[in-house]
């Protein structure tokens, strides 16, 4: 005969069920961000293909190795100081107490009771790597790999995450003072990286042969199909990126934006896809060019990302279409000014990101924020867009100017003529393209003199 349950035993059973429920909720959250991070890796697979394809064949591998190394220097440096910057600087330039985010903290490693820090750190590290990739494409075929890596560490583990602390942290001053709204990182990732890139391009200069008598020439990608596949992979990766921009809360709160406002993945799904479509249409109509058509997918998503949770899908489609056209004209303007952006990164990410932030102030002004924070406003968004431009441009320009003065920024002219692959990478992307496979290779065997050879 079973015992009659007491109030105490029922309460204990309820507590046990509650603990199990909360543990599973935490695990679900971990799983969500784990897969967002994994999908974000496709952004880098995409950038790898895109930049290699966009280069001439003599620089294809240099573009690739640069991209791979960017990823692997941003990850450890984001561990060493990037995560701390995010947690320490929401108030501006004076650090707050954030010792738990320092790399020698017990929080920064396997912890049986912490199901959040690792996956959030990973997602943010991959956001940082995306900023590095945005810079990477624009500077192909003439930047020194070493200079690029220094710049990409500063951008990917320093500059953008300072913007993230200001505009993407619950205590960030852009939010608390101006009601800043940028849920999909149009400003904190794309605008900052785009304008950092512009600063670098001004000091780096154009590729040899890009401008003849002041007239911009076409330097064709060696593999346009590879760039198109790469761009489509970036779009796939964006679903991980945008998933990482939404907060999976425990308890009965459900999904919120990074600002604590209610939203859900359905809102993101509507506007991500409508933005993608509109951007492609806009760029296609403006250029009829395959490279720009596919880039339009990025323009479209970035143009609506700041207000991804708020826009009517029809409005998102219209915004993205218009921005697809506008980004092409901005890229033309840059070329007319003698700036050689090899992949249009400043237009696609910088210009579009800034306008996207401002448009939230146009179309969603008055939308309240939670916890008594200021509502979204046009002036708040406009001011914040200006902050993003300055925060990206000034360090990019200053640091690249320093590297230029030290003669460390650009490869020598002879190297540029021969191709960086032949001079520095010592490998050929298509070694059998011009000679029979049985001929002796003129590519050095890098394993020939190692100790293990023949062991």
């Amino acid at each position: 005969m079973s015992e009659t349950p007491t109030l105490e035993s029922l309460q204990a059973a309820l507590d046990a069920q509650q603990a199990i429920f909360e543990m599973h909720q935490s695990m679900n959250m971990e799983v969500f961000y784990w897969w967002c991070t994994a999908i974000m890796f496709l952004i880098h697979a995409g950038f790898l293909a895109y930049e290699m394809g966009a280069s001439r064949s003599k620089n294809a591998l240099a573009a690739g190795i640069k991209n791979i190394l960017a990823l692997v220097v941003i990850i450890p440096t984001f561990y060493l100081f990037g995560w701390w910057i995010y947690n320490a600087f929401p108030g501006g330039f004076i650090p707050a107490e954030a010792s738990a985010a320092l790399p020698w903290s017990q929080s920064m490693g396997p912890d049986a009771k912490d199901l959040g820090t690792g996956v959030f750190w990973a997602a943010f590290a991959l956001f940082g790597a995306t900023t590095g990739s945005i810079l990477s494409g624009a500077v192909i075929e003439r930047i020194r790999v070493s200079a690029f890596l220094i710049l990409t560490i500063v951008l990917g583990s320093g500059v953008w995450i300072l913007g993230g602390a200001w505009g993407w942290h619950p205590d960030g001053w852009l939010l608390t003072k101006l009601g800043y709204h940028d849920v999909g990182a149009s400003g904190v990732v794309h605008a900052i990286a785009g304008f950092f890139t512009l600063g670098v391009l001004l000091n780096l200069g154009a590729r040899k042969g890009k401008f003849i008598d002041g007239v911009a020439q076409t330097i064709s990608p060696h593999s346009l199909p590879m760039t198109l596949i790469g761009l489509m992979l970036i779009i796939v990766g964006f679903f991980g990126f945008l998933g990482g921009c939404i907060i999976f809360n425990g308890g009965d709160t459900g999904w919120t934006t990074i600002y604590g406002n209610p939203t859900n993945l359905s809102a993101f799904a509507f506007n991500t896809l409508m933005g993608f479509s509109g951007g492609i249409i806009g760029c296609y109509v403006a250029t009829r060019d395959p490279f720009w058509t596919m880039s339009g997918g990025l323009v479209g998503i970035i143009s609506v990302a700041a207000g991804l949770d708020l826009y009517d899908p029809g409005l998102a489609f219209i915004i993205a279409t218009c921005m697809g056209v506008a980004a092409v004209y901005f890229a033309k303007l840059l070329e007319n000014l003698g700036i050689d952006d090899a992949v249009g990164a400043v237009a696609v990410h910088g210009f579009t990101g800034v306008v996207a932030v401002i448009l939230v102030g146009v179309f969603a002004a008055g939308t309240p924020n939670v916890n008594g924070l200021p509502p979204i406003s046009f002036m708040g968004q406009l001011t914040s867009a200006g902050v993003m431009i300055a925060l990206g441009f000034l360090p990019g320009y200053g640091l690249s100017l320093l590297l230029k003065k030290l003669n460390m920024l650009r490869v020598p002219e002879k190297c540029e003529e021969l191709g960086i692959d032949e001079v520095e990478i010592l490998a050929k992307p298509y070694p059998e393209a011009g000679v029979p496979a049985i001929a002796a290779s003129d590519v050095p065997n890098k394993l020939a003199n190692t100790e293990l050879q023949g062991a």
Partner: protein
């Protein structure tokens, strides 16, 4: 040798050397040296490669 725990009961941070700030500091220094060393080695390699193709 490096474990920071003796039991799994009520365990929190359990990674190697989690209870040894000196060791964690050394690992941070080591990681920094690897990143800086990578860039330094690339600069050296580039300078040599560019010299060979003057």
């Amino acid at each position: 040798m490096g474990t920071s725990i003796t039991t799994w009961e009520n365990v929190s941070a359990y990674f190697t050397f989690a209870d040894n700030p000196m060791a964690l500091g050394l690992f941070v220094a080591g990681a920094t040296v690897i990143v800086v060393g990578l860039i330094r080695s690339i600069i050296k390699h580039e300078n040599e490669a560019f010299k060979q193709h003057k």
